[in-house]
Amino acid sequence: MNKLEVKHLTKIFGKKQKAALEMIKQQKSKTEILEQTGATVGVYDVSFDVKEGEVFVIMGLSGSGKSTLIRLLNRLIEPSSGDIYINGSDISKMNAEELREVRRHALNMVFQNFGLFPHKTILENTEFGLELRGVPKEERVELAERALDNSNLLAFKDQYPNQLSGGMQQRVGLARALANDPEILLMDEAFSALDPLIRKEMQDELLDLQEKVQKTIIFITHDLNEALRIGDRIALMKDGQIMQIGTGEEILTKPANDFVREFVEDVDRSKVLTAQNIMIKPLTTLIGVDGPQVALTRMHNEEVSMLMATDRRRQLVGSVTAEAAIEARRKGVPLADVVDRDVRTVSKDTVITDIMPLIYDSAAPIAVTDDNNRLLGVIIKGRVIEALANTKEDAEEGGEE
């Protein structure tokens, strides 16, 4: 059962739209259309469908047309051509009155910057959709309070949005949409404005919530990890066109074209890989400043069991393991006494094949340093193996062609 079906949806901005539509029918490229007519194509002949209860993620870089696409679905932006069926009825042909009904009951939206009304309290914001529908005061307050309670925000109901943190504000935005009990939830980069930690929490919360409410969710993001975490299916967009639709696994393992492959790998493979390409940001502790407890807390927060140790000039000193830090805490000695100074280092231009032998007999990550012994990054085993595997495959494929 398809909740939502989109057929040949196109949006053109600017003048000479008729001519541009004609060119789209002839499968002319976006650049060509721009040169000949001066019209910009926002969304280029997009078709997909979303099943009941599915989390459908639309992913793409900025400018790929994903935000335009989601606004076409509830007609905040009027489509130039194409059809959008919700529960089998075409909303692109509806008049204003019918469209309002759909927006009030079937489709609700959560915004990137929360879209809360600064002049209304949290409760008033949450009941906004119900208020528009003309639900009696008592009933709508009850529904809004229940939605807030679900997001643990009931205590803040009389506050104004600017008194809440970003994460709380977005939970209000979500509660506002859910208070309406819509069939479909549109989420436009809903977590992009939050900091990474809160973002993760919100993703988890959304997944928990989804287990409970089983909504159909159209989720927009530019973050591959976010897409992989919450998406049942992912559509990848570029230049207003959908490049590939599939599960996370399909997109990772069977990329439909080079763009998708590059997007999911995020690695420029035309060059020979060096340490610089595969190193990750080092997690460090400052010798002479941090004590064992600080180092342990850091490990705990970052969910690792080892840190690189540097001095104040970011010069590499060695590595500290969790065990060593606990030892130091017990004895009451500074970290400097328990640092393992035997760390293997490579320069950033070292080629992967040279790193391979080092990686095999070192449990600790390898440090990448510059000429002054300053720490630039670390290399972990997984990355090396992955990189090698990929280059091999590439080579083979190249051979076949």
Binding site: R71, N74, L76, L99, R100, E101, V102, R103, R104, L107, N108, M109, F111, Q112, N113, F114, G115, L116, F117, P118, H119, F128, G129, E131, L132, R133, Y160, R176, N180, L186
Partner: protein, 576 residues
């Protein structure tokens, strides 16, 4: 290229014709607006005047105290400022000005906010309205007075009309800006939840735009206030008249006092209107309650006062009929009009005196908006106006014979005795008075007919400015040529001589006539008789003028003269 220079486009005639067409076509509508407007504004003014000034000052101070969140600065300023105005005897003017500003602002807001909303919603409308607003804001405010008089005659209604045109743009612009400035996401949110355009406007757009709109309204109020002075040229009552007449008499002191009263009023209104515009905070809950209480209390007080006034005074058509006299702020006319007003008051009439620009004075009598004037200089000085309006007025003949006008110089300019002797004295400048005055027309005529005046410049200013320039030149023994007329106190104060006028451009012998509107004889026969009989001599007039020039108020000087000349007054009023 030359074709452009040969024929001048008759734009002025077109505008004239268009205005005339408007005036005739919509005369019914204009009269109706004038009637309703006058009725409402007189009601407000009379009601506010009915409340004891001290009580009103106390109440406004208390309101300021609560609005300002119980701080002391604004209430103390309000109290001291208003007491000062009351002390200077400007309370009535203040109330009139306040009414004018209140009604102008109200009309501007009622028109401006919807227009601003429409502009924000529709780009085509914005494209059309923006240049119109630019036009409205840059066109000199004086220009609006001309059609205002044509449509609504003189008084407070055209004043409001001109103020509205002048003060409307900020409200429109700020409303448009405020609604366009609302973050797209909030508008999208309102749409995405399925709000009707109306719901969106009242639940989201206006509440979010409120602060900016209020800033625009505040600007509008200030502009309306600044139009008060300009509007007084066409008879809008209030503090502006004091400023204008001070300018025309070069009376620094009273000009300053009137100006200061305007400043005090402006600051009070500005602060009060800003109180209604606070950011969303917890403290806001309290202040908005205070706002509501104060607003309700003000309304209740007003209604109560209005009822009380009706109860006490009965219908406004009281005992005495009202006579509407009009005059120009020349010293001679101030003297004669005040004397006549005193005489009429003694007879039990109410008298309204409206100072106007000369041309508008004639027009207002011709249109029957005012009853009479005793300041028509005929046959030469006001020949143009007489020619234009003689069908629509009644000329009752001379009230003062043998006036004279011409160019005058101080007697120490020995080598100049005739206009023909002028060559390059006084920087080739003739210091004149208001550009609309009859004597200026005569001076222009002289400039054309005397070949030796071809390089001379006729500088127009005001009567007061002319006497000030004369005073300064006289003190420094500098050369000066002025447009002068007698009776006038300058001839008593300085040694001046008229220049001979062989071509008779300034007329030979002039008289001051009394003119009335048509049908005054039928409507108020007794008044008409008094005005008809009213006549006196140059000496009479100059004695009153000198008193005024020495610092006596016109009213006092007139009373003094009436007291000292009972016989003469009786000869006008006796019902024989």
């Amino acid at each position: 290229m030359n074709a452009l220079l040969i024929g001048k486009l008759p734009v002025a005639q077109w505008i004239e014709a268009f205005t005339n067409w408007l005036t005739h076509t919509f005369s019914g509508l204009f009269s109706f607006i004038q009637f309703v407007g006058n009725f409402i504004m007189d009601g407000i003014t009379n009601t506010l005047s009915f409340i004891n000034p001290l009580l009103l000052i106390a109440l406004v101070t208390v309101a300021a105290f609560f609005l300002a969140g119980k701080k002391w600065t604004l209430p103390s300023f309000t109290l001291i400022g208003l007491l000062f105005i009351y002390n200077q005897g400007l309370w009535g003017d203040l109330i009139n000005t306040f009414t004018l500003v209140l009604v102008s602002s109200f009309v501007s807001i009622v028109i401006g906010i919807p227009l601003g909303i429409w502009m924000a919603k529709n780009n085509t409308v914005k494209q059309v309205i923006n240049p119109v607003l630019d036009f409205m804001q840059t066109m000199p405010a004086f220009v609006y007075l001309i059609p205002a008089v044509a449509f609504f005659g003189i008084g407070i209604v055209p004043g409001v009309f001109a103020s509205v045109i002048f003060a409307l743009p900020p409200t429109v612009r700020f409303t448009n800006l405020a609604i366009r400035e609302i973050p797209t996401e909030l508008i999208e949110a309102a749409d995405a939840f399925g709000s009707t355009p109306r719901q969106k406007l009242f639940k989201v757009e206006l509440p979010l735009a409120k602060n900016t709109i209020m800033a625009g309204v505040n600007q509008t109020i200030m502009l309306a206030l600044s139009m008060v002075v300009t509007g007084s040229m066409i008879g809008a009552p209030g503090l502006g008249r004091g400023v204008l007449s001070a300018l025309q008499h070069a009376d620094i002191g009273s000009g300053f006092v009137n100006g200061l009263a305007l400043v005090i009023l402006a600051i009070i209104i500005d602060r009060f209107s800003q109180m209604a515009n606070k950011k969303v905070t917890d403290a806001k809950q309290k202040s908005s309650k205070a706002n509501t209480y104060v607003a309700v209390a003000a309304l209740a007080l007003f209604v109560f006062a209005a009822l009380a006034r009706l109860f006490v005074q009965g219908d406004s058509a009281g005992a005495g009929q009202t006579v509407k006299l009009t005059y120009v702020e020349w010293d001679s006319e101030v003297a004669s009009t005040n004397v006549l007003a005193q005489v009429l008051k003694k007879q039990g009439y109410k008298v309204e005196m409206t100072p106007l620009d000369n041309a508008i004075m004639w027009q207002s009598i011709a249109k029957g908006e005012t009853d009479a004037a005793v300041s028509a200089w005929l046959p030469n000085t006001h020949a143009d106006q007489y020619k234009k309006y003689k069908q629509d007025i009644v000329d009752l003949g001379a009230n003062l014979k043998g006036v004279r006008l011409g160019l005058a110089v101080p007697t120490y300019m020995k080598d100049v005795n005739s206009i023909e002797d002028l060559s390059d004295q006084a920087d080739k400048k003739i210091t004149g008075i208001e550009p609309g005055a009859g004597i200026m027309k005569a001076a222009q005529k002289a400039q054309k007919s005397y070949s030796n005046l071809s390089g001379w410049e006729l500088v127009s200013s005001s009567t007061g400015a002319m006497t000030t320039s004369l005073d300064q030149a006289y003190k420094n023994k500098k050369e000066i040529v002025v447009t002068a007329w007698s009776p006038h106190w300058i001839f008593a104060k300085y040694k001046l001589k008229y220049l001979k006028d062989p071509k008779k451009d300034f007329g030979s012998e002039e008289n001051i006539h009394s003119i009335t509107r048509k049908n005054l004889k039928k409507d108020m026969p007794k008044v008409n008789k008094i005005i008809d009989r009213f006549n006196w001599t140059q000496d009479d007039m100059e004695s009153v003028m000198l008193d005024i020039n020495k610092g006596m108020s016109p009213e006092k000087a007139a009373k003094k003269w009436v007291k000292n000349h009972p016989k003469k007054v009786a000869s006008w009023t006796d019902s024989k």
